[in-house]
């Protein structure tokens, strides 16, 4: 690394036969030194304005009593107080905990098991992998539309099972306020579990074979080797997967809109749909901004420890 740093700045001074060309070279040198920064400048400016500036702006809005239009009459943290005592917000954040926990846990379970099974020198592995992963290429809107049709009690799965002869079979989660949030889990797992499989399969392939051979020589059974030896090596992959899934869960908006519309009533609302509804449909910009800040806080609570551990492990490695 140091060699590179020392070669570059000297390049301009290597040949300097007369002063005129030295001036020209210095000019060119100056430009070359600044070009990387100039190239990055628009992106940095955009990030400062559109990411950091807007976050600050949203925070400011969350301290005002803005309704249909942004106003800058400050009311302190009143919007947060209103938010936390709002029943719909409580439902939405409870739903996020339920949805997030189940979505992450089930995706991980299915993804890890499939990755291990696929790692057993399976024929047509490529084709099978393609099938497991294709839902990830779809829009959550398409996923929602498809599952809305499959889960609808009139003509969907319920009818299929009844036609098979189980007449009293009932599967009405989509229209049942207590169960609607679980339909989000079903559709979300269908979409994202293949992705977890891909992550873990890549991780499994990177595990050093000699560790496994050593364990086999010790007479350990295959499931035991995976559980005790291989999976512990994949802790970083697990970490990444959890972080990405949690991120998807917190941002889930389109899936709710297309699958349940947040209903019945607001039984399957998530913070993302709450934020959109209050900001754009109900003219409660102040409260919408407050809910957005709460979502940001949620994401940061997950990301910061992750980044911290990433940086620390890189320092060690």
């Amino acid at each position: 690394m140091n060699t590179r740093a020392s070669v570059q700045p000297r390049a301009g001074h290597l040949f300097a036969p007369n002063s005129a060309s030295r001036v020209r070279r210095n000019g060119a040198y100056w430009l070359q030194a600044w070009l990387p920064k100039l190239v990055l400048a628009p992106s940095v400016a955009a990030a400062l304005f559109f990411v950091y500036g807007f976050m600050l702006w949203t925070f400011v809005l969350s301290l005002t009593n803005s309704r249909m239009l942004p106003s800058y009459e400050f009311v302190g943290f009143a919007q947060y107080a209103r938010l936390l005592s709002n029943d719909r917000w409580l439902v939405a954040s409870t739903n996020l905990v339920i949805f997030g926990a189940l979505f992450i846990a089930i995706c991980l379970a299915i993804g890890i098991v499939l990755a291990i099974l696929l790692d057993q020198r399976i024929r047509h592995e490529g084709a099978i992998r393609t099938i497991y992963l294709y839902p990830m290429a779809l829009s959550f809107i398409v996923t929602g539309v498809a599952w809305k049709w499959i889960l609808n009690p009139g003509l969907g799965i319920q009818q299929v099972v009844r036609d098979w002869g189980w007449e009293s079979f009932t599967f009405d989660w989509l229209v049942n306020p207590d169960m609607a949030v679980y339909t989000l889990v079903i559709a979300g797992v269908w979409q994202a579990s293949g992705f977890v499989m891909a992550l873990f399969l890549a991780g499994l392939r990177a595990v050093d074979d000699s560790i496994i051979k050593a364990a086999q020589l010790d007479g350990a059974s295959l499931p035991r080797i995976y559980w005790r030896v291989v999976l512990p090596c994949l802790r970083p992959v697990l970490f990444s997967a959890v972080m990405i899934l949690a991120h998807i869960a917190i941002k889930s908006f389109d899936l709710v809109v297309a699958l349940t519309g947040g209903g019945p009533g607001y039984a399957s609302d998530l913070p993302a749909t709450f934020m959109y509804d209050f900001s754009f449909s109900r003219s409660q910009i102040g409260m919408g901004a407050a809910s957005a800040m709460m979502m940001l806080a949620g994401v940061l609570a997950i990301i910061v420890p992750y980044l911290y551990s990433e940086l620390r492990s890189r320092d060690r490695g």
Partner: protein
């Protein structure tokens, strides 16, 4: 490669059969929704009402597809989603091209030219990957209004470029880090400048990462719903928003076959890309997670 059951005892054979059975069962589970969509989209409404999800159609009809393309109602208007597919194309193409180009230059400047605060710049750009977009939704709405870009295609392109740069920069940076520095150092000694080095040395070896980035951005922008629904009007909305309107518009009889045909139309471009270039799609998905 010895982490595999090799011994051909009856028990091992049974285990192997079980593994295949489980894998095939799951493949069916993953495929089922797509097949059900396809099946439903070629049934007549009578067939749908008479049977269930899995019943085969008595006659196959492509009428729902035509209807979805040119006649289905999205709210008050009934012009199908064909026009909205075109809207999506108009948003996706410039957004993908611009964000990829910027990402490539950023990644190059961040890895092949040393300057102070470089890691900081990368870190502050990278943070854009992690924010929930709800936190920028309101200020962006107002800014687009001020710029005169509210409810325009250009506005949506701008939004997708601005928030895509974080990802494209990450992809290119992680790729260029692994390009050997010797070549670049030699070119610098020969007096080659910033852009010449990029065009002559980096760009020729960038094909894989360009494909990964283009596919990633294409999928992201095509599948976007949040920005589309927040910043577009009836004339400019992308196909995901139109699809949602078709399915959730409450006027008239529920035409499930048309809904499914519309969903298939909206899904086809990204599915096609996935089938044709699945390897690169997976790389994009894992790029952000495996390397930081």
């Amino acid at each position: 490669m010895d982490n595999v059951i090799r011994v051909q005892t009856p028990g091992a054979l049974l285990a192997r059969g079980g593994i295949y059975a489980a894998l095939i069962f799951m493949a069916v589970v993953y495929l089922a929704p797509l097949l059900v969509m396809l099946l439903t989209s070629v049934k007549t409404l009578e067939d749908i009402r008479a049977g269930n999800l899995l019943s085969l159609p008595r006659e196959i009809t492509f009428q729902p597809w035509l209807h979805a393309w040119s006649e289905a109602c999205t709210g008050i208007r009934c012009e199908g989603i064909g026009g909205y597919v075109w809207n999506s194309v108009q948003i996706v193409v410039p957004a993908v091209v611009i964000s990829t180009a910027i990402g490539a230059l950023n990644g190059y400047a961040l890895t092949k030219w040393r300057f102070k605060g470089q890691e900081w710049v990368f870190g502050m750009l990278l943070f854009g990957c992690f924010i929930p977009f709800q936190v920028i939704l309101l200020p962006m709405a107002q800014t687009l209004g001020w710029l005169g870009l509210g409810s325009t295609t250009t506005g949506l392109v701008l939004v997708h470029v601005v928030y895509g740069i974080a990802f494209t920069t990450l992809f290119f940076r992680n790729y260029y880090v692994n390009v050997p520095d010797e070549l670049i150092a030699a070119a610098k000694l020969d007096g080659a400048g910033f852009f010449r080095i990029f065009l002559r040395i980096l760009l020729p070896v960038s094909t894989p990462i360009i494909v990964v980035t283009v596919i990633w951005q294409f999928t992201q922008v095509w599948n976007d719903f949040l920005f589309g629904v927040a910043y577009s009007s009836h004339e400019t909305q992308p196909v995901t928003v139109a699809l949602n309107n078709v399915v959730n518009s409450t006027t008239g009889v529920r035409e499930y076959n048309v809904d499914m045909a519309a969903a298939m139309i909206a899904a086809l471009p990204t599915l096609l890309v996935y089938v044709l270039a699945g390897k690169y799609f997976v790389r994009g998905l894992t790029a952000g997670s495996v390397k930081g």
